[in-house]
Symmetry: D2
Subunit: 437 residues, 4 copies
Amino acid sequence: MSYFDKIEPIRHQGPTTTDELAFRWYDKDRVVLGKRMEEHLRFAACYWHTFCWNGFDPFGYDGTFERPWQHMADPMEAAKAKADAAFDFFSKLGVPYYCFHDRDVAPEGATPRESVENLRRMVGVLGEHQQRTGLKLLWGTANVFSHRRFMSGAATNPDPEIFALAALQVREAMNATKALDGENYVIWGGREGYETLLNTDMKLELDNLGRFLSMAVEHKHKIGLKGPILIEPKPREPTKHQYDFDVATVYGFLKARGLENDVKVNIEANHATLAGHSFEHEIATAVALGIFGSIDMNRGDMQCGWDTDQFPNNIPDTALAMYHILQGGGFTSGGLNFDAKVRRQSIDPEDLFMGHIGGMDVSARALLIAAAMIEDGGLAARVKARYAGWEGELGRDIRGGTLSLDALADRTLNRNTDTRPVSGRQEALENWLNRFI
Amino acid sequence: MSYFDKIEPIRHQGPTTTDELAFRWYDKDRVVLGKRMEEHLRFAACYWHTFCWNGFDPFGYDGTFERPWQHMADPMEAAKAKADAAFDFFSKLGVPYYCFHDRDVAPEGATPRESVENLRRMVGVLGEHQQRTGLKLLWGTANVFSHRRFMSGAATNPDPEIFALAALQVREAMNATKALDGENYVIWGGREGYETLLNTDMKLELDNLGRFLSMAVEHKHKIGLKGPILIEPKPREPTKHQYDFDVATVYGFLKARGLENDVKVNIEANHATLAGHSFEHEIATAVALGIFGSIDMNRGDMQCGWDTDQFPNNIPDTALAMYHILQGGGFTSGGLNFDAKVRRQSIDPEDLFMGHIGGMDVSARALLIAAAMIEDGGLAARVKARYAGWEGELGRDIRGGTLSLDALADRTLNRNTDTRPVSGRQEALENWLNRFI
Amino acid sequence: MSYFDKIEPIRHQGPTTTDELAFRWYDKDRVVLGKRMEEHLRFAACYWHTFCWNGFDPFGYDGTFERPWQHMADPMEAAKAKADAAFDFFSKLGVPYYCFHDRDVAPEGATPRESVENLRRMVGVLGEHQQRTGLKLLWGTANVFSHRRFMSGAATNPDPEIFALAALQVREAMNATKALDGENYVIWGGREGYETLLNTDMKLELDNLGRFLSMAVEHKHKIGLKGPILIEPKPREPTKHQYDFDVATVYGFLKARGLENDVKVNIEANHATLAGHSFEHEIATAVALGIFGSIDMNRGDMQCGWDTDQFPNNIPDTALAMYHILQGGGFTSGGLNFDAKVRRQSIDPEDLFMGHIGGMDVSARALLIAAAMIEDGGLAARVKARYAGWEGELGRDIRGGTLSLDALADRTLNRNTDTRPVSGRQEALENWLNRFI
Amino acid sequence: MSYFDKIEPIRHQGPTTTDELAFRWYDKDRVVLGKRMEEHLRFAACYWHTFCWNGFDPFGYDGTFERPWQHMADPMEAAKAKADAAFDFFSKLGVPYYCFHDRDVAPEGATPRESVENLRRMVGVLGEHQQRTGLKLLWGTANVFSHRRFMSGAATNPDPEIFALAALQVREAMNATKALDGENYVIWGGREGYETLLNTDMKLELDNLGRFLSMAVEHKHKIGLKGPILIEPKPREPTKHQYDFDVATVYGFLKARGLENDVKVNIEANHATLAGHSFEHEIATAVALGIFGSIDMNRGDMQCGWDTDQFPNNIPDTALAMYHILQGGGFTSGGLNFDAKVRRQSIDPEDLFMGHIGGMDVSARALLIAAAMIEDGGLAARVKARYAGWEGELGRDIRGGTLSLDALADRTLNRNTDTRPVSGRQEALENWLNRFI
């Protein structure tokens, strides 16, 4: 008997339905801008928040959820029961993809070897579930931040033996991803940062992190892993400061090591706002820098200074993010993962579905809005018009790189005319946007 | 008669003095770690906050300060009176350096040419003051953000004619800096960012900003300007988002354009904290990335979300910043500028002195503390010990780049031993630091 | 010739219009929940941001807007020209109300008496405009924060003579509000706070602020001013810390002085978020505490730590605020004021209209959504059901105040049964809300 | 054998010691302002962070600390072993006081009755430890936020049966505090707030919270508990929004219920900064409002948006807090508790000592600095001088309450003279403060 026995597969029923376990907007086969919704959105649900987290928070001394597999005595049996529940959930929800960390799906063993064996065995189990259900793996990743051995980092640990333990885990997780035909491999540097500069050799740590990433890139090519490695920026939490602070920081890190063609970014909405950026800023930056990969579509709470990982629920905000994704060409190997968790008071199986349904409906609606904005073309036309001068002679000369500062300054001095600014029309554009909501 | 007539030159009187117009700690000839304090600290005072700002804020409709030169009818006469007051102030204060924007020292004219002529004339006046007083120019810069023509940016303006007007200003400001024997040239991209992504072509703007910077670097070489160009990172304000968000962002920007050897950073404490970093983080990052240049030693208020530009007053915080500067080799062409302003309620001439005296004393004390920390060597030794494993065989093999992920993972698997973490000793290090306060 | 000559009165044209100078949703006579939209929303536009601000910011040295009346030599002539433009704007926009500070409408004179006379004369001018156009005054207020004499506060100034000067201004502004049949009187304590605790006697300042408020309340009764006095909470800016930090703080201040029946709050969205609250939190708190008065419907930018005073543009966020206002009974004497300003790059007359049109349309749509939520009743029903236990015997006993802690604890001990929690259903409720967007 | 066997009792060895397990500044018998340091500071260490927390964080799946009593099978045996370790620690550290939650010292039982019995038994054990060691209880409190039954609040729970379960716990914790001669009783409303307003009846919850507090006050009188009940304000975390946001909010809550004489506040540094205040602001506010009780001297990290609960290490910041405490009359029943935890990488028994030693030394030094500031009297004198006008005739008339707004306004109008502001001298005062560091 499944944990989700009472739940029927979720169906599209249209905007007017009052059924809480149905989609109102996500209709996977509906064609938008020439592609099916499912192909545009490439939804994934994650293993960790939904099947591993028990509702614990730092002010609780136990979880609140009481999922059956979280109380089983044998870890491998629990892992299998968890996988049963997870694939039952993914299937009923109707997402095409899922994502996992190695330790989400297979328990840590008593020794490194036992951990490796646990994972390899569970890869078999997951493979069978994939085959049975048609579900695919959007990305895999290794959890090299939860175990106490990684308390001071993995690739940036002061002890090279811990770097080596992380290398084993990442190798195995990459191999598992390959075995399960995963479309990307993600690295989130959860403890790659510092608690205090007082005990930190930043240059050494950055170099080691670069070395680790280079080794992973080389391994990716060796095993023929599809798609890019994706770094997921986050400014802080759990550490005081993480090295992959935001998209622009990751770009500089990659550029300094010549890795910008093999490594892209997986951008999380909540991490963007913790770093002092809007979600769409991070997407637009990654697009401008050529490193856009995938997204974790989970919002924060703007009054809370930590990672709340909530399902998106604000339609215009989500539409703006989707507009920038579409403007950047849409997803290729990446997708839209919900690294989101239901609130710890949402303790029922139904809550897991409602959280994801809401997130998928908001994302679907955002896609429709963004597509309408693009089909209208008004915004793009205005932006083009605003910068039209850069298509003129002066603009082309400057951008062509032939004008020296002296030559340009002399031209300006001879011209001896001021230039009047024109309105930025921000309010008009914001109003324009609201036509599509 | 000078605005500062009642003020005598500020002298060192030692820690026990109760004279509010004396240094308690800054003693320019005192030797610390083999150099005179004055050579270590390379203090500069700035023109804009102290002589141009009139105490206005967005909730005032006039200033509070009533400096005489702010009420003179003829702009060039006012500029000369301002210069008289400024050099009187710098001299009495006893800083070796000052800094300015073009528009701080010379008024905007009715035409571009008139503005250029105003500046060129004032360069003569400043040169005479320098010669008379022995004061030197730490850096010059151009104000391409205050005039309404720059409301949508200078190098990132949608209109290339405004880019061209900025180019004229920067050329002239660089030439002025050269003429006055300035030791660095600073670029702060005050409006190089956006108010809304809706009307912004980020890629074009980033490219144009890069083009502008490359032109400035080329010009620097052409005219033989000493020292580097310094970019001053800031995350936002006045714009919603600036492109030079923080040190790591600037690094990526430079690296992508091959400018990291000609351009360094001028780090401001308050800009660091607005970007979600500690001041020492930004310094340590710049040192680690090889782009540390100079600092603006002015703190923010951690409860206020805008640039308060206050004089530093927290001794341990300042000592930590100074420690990282010294660990990075200290200043070369850069220095310690106070881009700081007295509060708008501090309306008397004495307040200007007390603000700077306090900042200089705190910085001097921070230098003494940082020097004592370095002479003790305890912190450096502990950091070295913490990473000692990276000097061992495994560490060297990993860092040498010869180990593949597979080879390292196999080694780990064969070893099949977990590694126990060791204490990070943060509290002990924090206590150690307090020994020196 | 008017500044707004080219603009025709704004009309409702329905959701499909592409006319940028038309309402898509605000249709003043449309009946919602039994009242006309105009009666529900009670829109007001403000004098200061739209007619007094010139586009200056702390990084500009002039404004960007170039409104004609901002460049007239004679202050009273300028004030009259400004009033002409303002009423032309209000009328064409179609708001029923406006708001002003004394110094917005009449210039500061050379002496206190001259200032009073200027205001009294302009009250006559405004009265004629009101009569001519049918516009009404939602509230008046006094600017006792912009002039340099108020740099250290008005009612909380260290100098009682400045308290007295503020008293004169407030008396005159209250009398002006009465003369113009204003429906509320607002107090915003812009400089009633501190820059540093080091020079501050907080208790004395709080007492004086209370005394000032009591005097104003007494005067309100004396002159028969309609409606309440409204305090507008704000946590900081321009000061480091203001005494009217947020709604709950103001409540405690009022309660300690027995003023909670005469004084309500005017809640600003942007001030709420600066204080670490959501806008709807502040509204719900004021409703729960019985001091809800009026609102300033202008949002901040969640990435910026200062008051950006932008027009609302997020439909679901605004709907949530409106839902809480309706649940609290809607506006009585208060209304929905736009204390909002167009961006400083929005320099054209049209921009002023588009900003307000967008804000009014978003608010109108928010009203429709909130009304639909109320008519559906689903949310209210769920909240009622969630707390149903408090209608049972135990709930009534506890709330009745007859059970002592001992009696209740003994009952629990004897019952000796744990109680299982039930799901909070947050995701379901968030999905429910999105049905109405 | 004790967990702390290798640690000798901590002794004062003076500022020059390099012993990491000695006090450099805290010298309990040193007399400062006529009282012994120990009497001034009234240090307490807490049970929860040091003995209950295992180093878990939301990104870990186990703790890092491995304290022996955290791995014992029998909960009551573990509780006794924990108490042995705790009192060994408190004694060796040399704090006069400790603090606890009910569930810190005694395990949750299978039924409410069993939990009560566990606590009652452990009160006996603690009493023996107190008698043996001379340690005293600064305050007790009840943990009504960690168990899953309290996930939606205790006194503000939607279910009155959970309110009743909380009432039992609080009754027992108050009785335990009485039995152990505790000097205060603390209430921290960890889950008394909301996750979403959508499912919340704020008015009902506030009323119930008030009812609960009134019951506790009545019980305090009934059992003759010494000292006040202390509410510990916190703005958020774990909930999105807590009802006891800050000191001013708590004051309004108490005032509305007439509880301001029986209930004071326990102010935590980290909670202050999370609420957007400085620590000294919260202290000064509580002093001004007459509700200052006790403090939790643990700082946050200004770059992190959550409760980091670190030991204080910034000397000037701590001195400023201490100055306001002394100016407010110092502690009466309250004290200085370290609700602080060592970093999760500080895994050794020594780290626990070093964290507390550092905190105690910083606090001791802060006391010496604050005392020197008071003995100097310079700051108090300047503040007095700044407000001297309020001792004059006009000031007395205004404060006396006899002047109406009209009378005061008429006086001002007749006087018809502006008043010039005087400098606030913030920089001078900040420099003055640094004389004492």
